[in-house]
Amino acid sequence: MSDAFRRIDVSKQEKAEIAKFKDKKILDETALDELRVELLRLINDRQGLNLLLDFSNVEFMSSAVLGLLGQIHRKMGTLKGKLKMCSIHPQIYEVFKLTNLNKLFSIHKDQAESLGKF
């Protein structure tokens, strides 16, 4: 059981690995810390990994999650991997826009569109 992820559903596709957030709300520090640990464990220093983060379940998240996404983004950069995100709720996307991070991250409408761009 220790290998299982509590906060993300992981599936392997031909072009990328998809990590889908399970939580509807990512607000408290505990949830954020657990997500950080699980995502870093998933990435596991794999060179050239293609990773897609699916936000379709997430309706609310604190702006601190952006910090985690930045960390994952930089980590993937050092591993020469590709990171994409999809299915971001409009209200959450506003936060990305406000902080200009919609320009830093590669964000798409849904899984199919994202997978087509890897």
Partner: protein, 478 residues
């Protein structure tokens, strides 16, 4: 103690001395089947009737050696059935055991009246029942018809009863009730002992829990004390209430949602001609965020030094040099990369007002837009496209300029204002925020800042804001 015979847990099965034909009267199919199995396993033969009426029919068919009857049954209950069996001369010598809960002392009288020989209380141990059957079968009953003078008067629970019963029946019944009492008493003693052991462990657990609670309380008190002290330090770093700046009026509000805030703001003269102002909003809440907010605040002071981010000494003893907002935020971005601080990043709006001319230069690091309220004309939100500080290394931040006219105001605020959420998680939004400031534009800056804070707090009723709220307003008088 269970009605369910469980071979695994039961002690060695009772091996009866007699093997006889038993008639069971029991309306519960499951209980009858369980009892039947135990009796058959012990070597008896069994017939089963679903109520008293059926039991009488089976009696007529063939005389059994022993009868076991439940009491609560439809159509004919156990007492009625017992009375019929015990008044018929051909059946009265068949030993009859009543299965009773014996919850009422009057049950004994009912049993006596009905002529029962034995009581076994429910729930019963099957081995105990088999033992009782044996002792009843050891002493065959003699036929006796109670003579008119054998009527006895008994008082139970304040009620008088007249009972006709034979001596042997009374004796048997009494002995069975006494044996029952002894068995129940033994069970009670065992239960009592287990209870006593359980009580001891409970007491021990309670003491441990109490000690643990005290420890938590002590830690909690210490942490609360520390938090309050830290909050005081943080508050002491805020700008003085009355900021004396010629040609400008300054007002601010700062309300952390917890003891410690991830927000920080300040406004101060950088030299004789420049007024510096900023709001910082660190991601997250609590101690780590507030530590970073205070640290960033400590870097952004108006102390003139070579290492100062905001104002440096002039060359060859010349006047001090005010560092441009773009350079300040770029430097901050180099100093505070999120990977060095557990993923924490911050947004900032930093502005420098040239007091003699009213020229405002400002830079944003992913911060909500600056609100410009001209003396006349429409309000405007100035957005500067940029990443938050600490997100992307080696980024050059750009700068905007805004020429103020006398009487113009600017407001800096943290996202706790436009993103304030009501009970339904609806945000206050930029439109409501600007509409409020619009309606108050003839009021003093101080009133605007206070009313804006109050409207955020009202919007977030009943729980109050979930984010720190910082508002800083500056009016240039010209």
């Amino acid at each position: 103690m269970s009605e369910t015979p469980s071979p695994g847990s039961a002690p060695s099965p009772y091996s009866p001395r007699h093997r006889v034909d038993v008639l069971i009267a029991e309306d519960s199919r499951i209980q009858a089947k369980m009892l039947e199995k135990r009796l058959v396993d012990a070597g008896h033969t069994v017939r089963w009737a679903i109520n008293g009426l059926k039991a009488v029919e089976l009696l007529k068919e063939k005389r059994p050696d022993l009868i076991i009857s439940d009491i609560e049954m439809p159509e004919m209950n156990g007492y009625e059935f017992c009375k019929i069996a015990k008044t018929d001369p051909s059946w009265q010598t068949i030993p009859l055991i009543l299965l009773s809960s014996l919850s009422d002392p009057v049950d004994i009288i009912r049993g006596l009246e009905a002529g029962a020989d034995n009581y076994v209380t429910k729930p019963y141990d099957p081995n105990y029942l088999l033992g009782r059957m044996d002792s009843l079968l050891d002493t065959p009953l003699e036929a006796e018809s109670p003579s008119p003078g054998s009527e006895m008067e008994v008082t139970i629970s304040g009620q008088k009863f007249k009972v006709q019963a034979g001596r042997q029946q009374v004796l048997n019944l009494l002995v069975s009730i006494f044996e029952n009492a002894v068995t129940k008493n033994k069970e009670l003693i065992v239960t009592n002992q287990s209870l006593s052991v359980a009580k001891d462990s409970l007491q021990k657990a309670y003491l441990e829990l109490t000690a643990f609670n005290e420890q938590i309380e002590r830690s909690n008190k210490r942490m609360t004390r520390d938090l309050h002290a830290a909050a005081k330090v943080q508050q002491s770093l805020l700008p003085a209430k009355a900021i004396d700046v010629p040609s400008a009026t300054v007002a601010w509000k700062y309300v952390p949602c917890n003891e410690l805030a991830g927000d920080f703001l300040n406004v101060f003269p950088l030299d004789d001609e420049h007024l510096g102002m900023f709001i910082v909003d660190v991601s997250g809440h609590g101690v780590p965020s507030s530590l970073l907010a205070v640290t960033v605040g400590a870097f952004l002071t108006n102390r003139i030094s070579d290492s100062s981010l905001l104002v440096r000494p002039g060359k060859d003893g010349g006047p001090p040099v005010v560092v441009s907002p773009a350079e300040v935020v770029t430097q901050l971005n180099n100093l505070f990369q999120a990977d060095n601080q557990v993923g924490l990043y911050f947004t900032i709006l930093y502005g420098v007002l040239h007091v003699p001319t009213g020229m405002l230069r400002f830079t944003s690091g992913g911060h909500p837009p600056l609100l410009h309220v001209p003396k006349e004309g429409p309000l405007k939100l100035f957005e500067v496209e940029s990443f938050p500080v600490g997100f992307v290394p080696d980024v050059e931040f750009t700068e905007e300029t805004l020429q103020l006219q006398p009487g113009d105001r600017v407001y800096l605020y943290s996202d706790g204002v436009p993103e304030a959420m009501d009970e339904k998680l609806d945000q206050m939004g930029n439109e409501r925020m600007t509409a409020l400031v619009e309606s108050l534009r003839r009021e003093p800056v101080e009133t605007n800042v206070t009313k804006l804070l109050e409207s955020v707090q009202a919007w977030c009723q009943p729980k109050g804001p979930l984010d720190d709220v910082s508002i800083l307003g500056v009016e240039w008088k010209g």
